[in-house]
């Protein structure tokens, strides 16, 4: 937390280590490059795969939104409410 706040007060305080740490965090999150050896993947490739991954997640959200709105439209009101309430309880 504190490292982020200090970096916002002046860009000169960002260290190479912080960048490396963040890039490696991204590496672990993106499935495309998680399985490759970390020293073989350059930072620009990490960024590229990250962008691709975010785009594919956005597409999935779009598809799921479309599917959910279709499901809402086709099932009748009562069972929609019942399913929703059931999901709420199942949490």
């Amino acid at each position: 937390m504190s490292s982020r706040r200090s970096s916002q007060s002046g860009t000169s305080r960002i260290t190479d280590d912080q960048i490396i740490e963040l890039v490696s965090k991204l590496r672990q999150l993106v499935p495309e490059i998680r399985n490759r050896r970390s020293d073989k993947v350059p930072a620009s490739k990490v960024l590229q795969e990250t962008c691709n991954y975010i785009r594919s997640l956005h597409r999935e959200v779009d598809d799921l939104s479309e599917r959910l709105s279709q499901l809402l439209a086709t099932i009748d009101a009562d069972s929609a409410e019942a399913s929703i309430i059931r999901s709420l309880i199942a949490q």
Binding site: L22, A43, C51, D62, L64, S87
Partner: protein, 164 residues
């Protein structure tokens, strides 16, 4: 429940559960609006239905995070201002972003070899990314990806429940 995401030891207050509750309530509202509308099956209404669900999902996730993160703050700001002045705000913020990237107030790239071009592509994908420096952008991206993953998982699960 992923312990990294909870802000208290109470399992009911994880990001995932806050998102799920908020999103399901929004779906209930959307469902009720659809029932009272008489033009529910025109192509326009179908598109608006999809958009409503998508916006509900994004807003629910940003609200579950709250103001803790720059990306969630940016998303909530954008959605609120859309309600007031839709197209005007979109056009103005696009121009403002172009100016920042091309002229004087350029966003400084701290590490040349981290790929400034890719970083700018990333800025467009992450909410609020245009105004962040590299360090902030990478941290926000990591958190944003985790939240998108949660969002997708929950939406998939809800779609499964509806399909039965």
């Amino acid at each position: 429940m992923n312990p990294r995401r909870s802000i208290s030891s109470n399992p009911a207050s994880t990001v995932k559960s806050r998102f799920t509750n908020g999103f399901l309530k929004a779906l209930l509202r959307i469902n009720r609006q659809r029932i009272t509308s008489t033009t529910a099956y025109t192509p326009r209404e179908i598109f608006r239905g999809y958009l409503r669900v998508k916006i509900a999902a994004d807003v629910s996730m940003a609200s579950a995070i709250g103001s803790r993160r720059a990306w969630s703050r940016a998303m909530l700001r954008k959605v609120r201002s859309h309600g007031r002045d839709g197209a005007q705000v979109r056009r103005m913020s696009f121009l403002a972003m172009r100016k920042r990237n091309l002229y004087g107030k350029k966003i400084k790239c701290v590490e040349e070899d981290v790929g400034c071009y890719q970083a700018n592509v990333l800025r467009k994908l992450v909410p609020g990314g245009a105004a962040m420096d590299m360090c902030c952008l990478l941290g926000e991206t990591a958190h944003y990806i985790k939240c998108l993953n949660t969002q997708v998982k929950v939406m998939r699960r809800i779609a499964e429940v509806f399909s039965t």
